[in-house]
Amino acid sequence: MSCHELSSPTTLGNKHELIKVAIVGNPNVGKSALFNKLTGGNAWVGNWPGVTVEKKTGRIVIEGHEVELVDLPGIYGLTPYSLDEVIARKFILEERPRIVIQVINATNLERNLYLTIQLLEMNVKLIIALNMIDLAEKEGLEIDINGLMNQLNILIIPTIAVKEVGVDNLTKAIIMELNSPPPFFKINYGPEIEEAIQRIERILDKCEIADVGANSRWIAIHLLEDDKDIEELFRKRGLEDVLRKVVEIKRDLQTRLGESIEVLMIEKRYQYILSLTQKYVKRRHVKESLTTFTDRLDRILTHPILGLMIFISTLYLLFKFSFDVASPLTNLLDVLISGHVHSFLKTLPLPTIISSLLADGVLQGVGILLIFIPNLFFLFLGISFLEDTGYLARVTFLSDKWMNKIGLSGRVIIPLLIGFGCNVPAILSTRVLGDDRDRRLTMLIIPFMSCSARLPIYLLFTLVFFKENQMLVILSIYFIGVTTAIITALLFNKLLFKGQTSGYVMDMPPYLIPSVGNIFAKSWERIKSFLVRAGSIIVIMMVIIWALSIFGPEGYLGVEALRNPDLLSRSWIASFSKLIEPLFKPFNWDWRVISSLLFGFVAKEVVVSSLSVLYNVEEADLSTVLSTSFTPLTAYSLMVFTLLYTPCMATAATLRSEIGLKNTIFIIIYELFIAYIMAYLVLSIGGLLL
């Protein structure tokens, strides 16, 4: 008896059972849009077990069946390359969803069908959502859906995700598929390979690998293709002798074929796909197809000079959009929170310590978060818009040449751009990078991208000391950040990450007009990931700092400490700052500045509000006080220090979950060190010049 059956086909149709459905597909096929339409926005984001990649899940009820939809990261085949792809494959293999929906881009059937073939070989119950069917028609493609459906023996539902066409049919198809038997599918790989597959299958039939989650033919095929994960699995089970026999069969086959087994097998799959498309797809010639339109745009947009000019201009507009448009809203929120809500909380009939906890601790933290949101939201709207038009793929292309010079691939540009908004989603977005080395190096330099939280600090100081050239000085700070990032990348290239980036492989999607709903959904998702990760940390840290400010070595100081600098100077925070004050002797910063920098570790723009508390003035009058205790030079060195000194709490927490505590601590220490050196350099070089 074979010891590796598919998941047992019992209890079908049991209405109380939760039916797991996975949604897979190549990148750029409209998978997320379809997922959002299927779940009606009713999705939540969790983590995949063991790793920290977000898992998007949504639950819907179809005809009384409870269905759990899981959105898997985009994949080209079942051989994983990036972290995202490892997860997609693991889910299909190990969690055995009852049904898999593959979203296919109808304009590029051949490449998409490659994944279909691989899924069918696994004998999963597959439904195909033939997406962007309208675009395919415009391209002059006529797809005989019925013919393809009969040939492959699976359901194919034409959809247009952005217009919500075909979504109902898709949910009906899920129910229809529930009780049907899994498809039987086989590609003939030719006599030599088939014989090898059978030999391996016979060996497998004698062993215990029941829970690999696939049939023995599939395992045999993947062993022939050197699938490292499967080999690893066998080793873990102590089945080395099986592997040894497989190696022998492979060697035997190799000599008979004279060519790479792997290449031949992939070729066979493509040959099969071509035989399908020749039969079921007709191509009409159209005058103005999407491809020719895209090609024409690309002639300018990827042009070495014009393309670069447009890229930089687009970047400029992106940042203008996110900062200028958001700033009136940020002001409005600021007035509301620190003004109205704050005084309202203070008037509540509560014990002073409680109302202070709410107003000065919790509300302060919530306020920080809310004030970020307009800024971040507009940046993410812009980035999502560019992403959905297809332009970001060109940006990757344009920047690859430059990124290569610092040992990174062009793909890194997108996380770095997001970093100017907020470092947290920037670090999360490195997951799409195929190369672990690129990923680590990028995470190391992301904190040097001056996020929007640091801008209020520059604004305050430049307003006081560099009124004439405010924009120029702020720009120079951003520039120092980028330069430090470049130096860091070069340095670590030499020291730790030997060698070059392995580069990127990316599909160039056609230019499309994006759907507004999808852009908003995407931006909201990114904002949410920031809120979820940063939110609780910032609020908790604000409460801790609040507590450290109203308590001191001598005990409870009273909530007045927050408004009274004499009391505050006896708090724990002040004591600690005074303790490390000698370290900052060269900068001439007193304990108040150091305290506010400590506060700034929570979220950098807190530096401003805490300075105003420590100097016991309203934020509006802070400039007068600062002009007496700083010179333009020391102010500039402080700005440089706040730019570089450490990733904020939320970023550190995200780093920790991505690359572990040890690496995070290393990054924090490295960045503190760099900040110290750079601030010192500013002081001494500036001192020489002035």
């Binding site: 080209y76 085949g77 051989t79 994983p80 390359y81 590029n108 051949e110 490449r111 490659y114 050197d226 490292k228 790479s260 792997e262 290449v263 992939i266 070729e267 493509y270 796909i273 071509l274 895209t294 090609d295 690309d298 990827t302 070495p304 793929a393 060109r394 990757t396 292309f397 690859d400 040449k401 290569n404 691939s409 062009g410 793909r411 195929g434 070059q500 980036t501 392995s502 580069g503 990127y504 492989v505 990316m506 599909d507 160039m508």
Partner: protein, 87 residues
């Protein structure tokens, strides 16, 4: 390196130095297993014909495969794909 005219292309070249508009045949791909496999799966198998749509010389390239579509390959990848130029 960059001044190869059409007639001087004989033998194997890395994709990264091929001029725009040329059609080439993939001969072999050097590199890590994950990368090689990825390239195979998007149709860059040995023997496949591809068109160089855009080449920024010492930078990335954009290629087109009739079957699998248009791809952008980073410089690091383009260097590792050895091709021969057709006619």
């Amino acid at each position: 390196m960059g001044d190869n005219s059409a007639d001087t292309y004989t033998g194997l070249f890395p994709l990264s130095i091929i001029e725009e508009g040329k059609t080439v045949k993939v001969v072999k791909i050097i590199g890590g297993r994950g990368l090689v496999r990825r390239l195979y799966e998007i149709g860059l198998l040995p023997g496949a014909e591809i068109e160089v749509v855009r080449n920024s010389k010492h930078g990335p390239v954009i290629i087109r495969n009739k079957i699998t579509g248009t791809f952008s390959l980073g410089y690091g990848v383009a260097k590792k794909i050895m091709v021969e130029v057709m006619q």
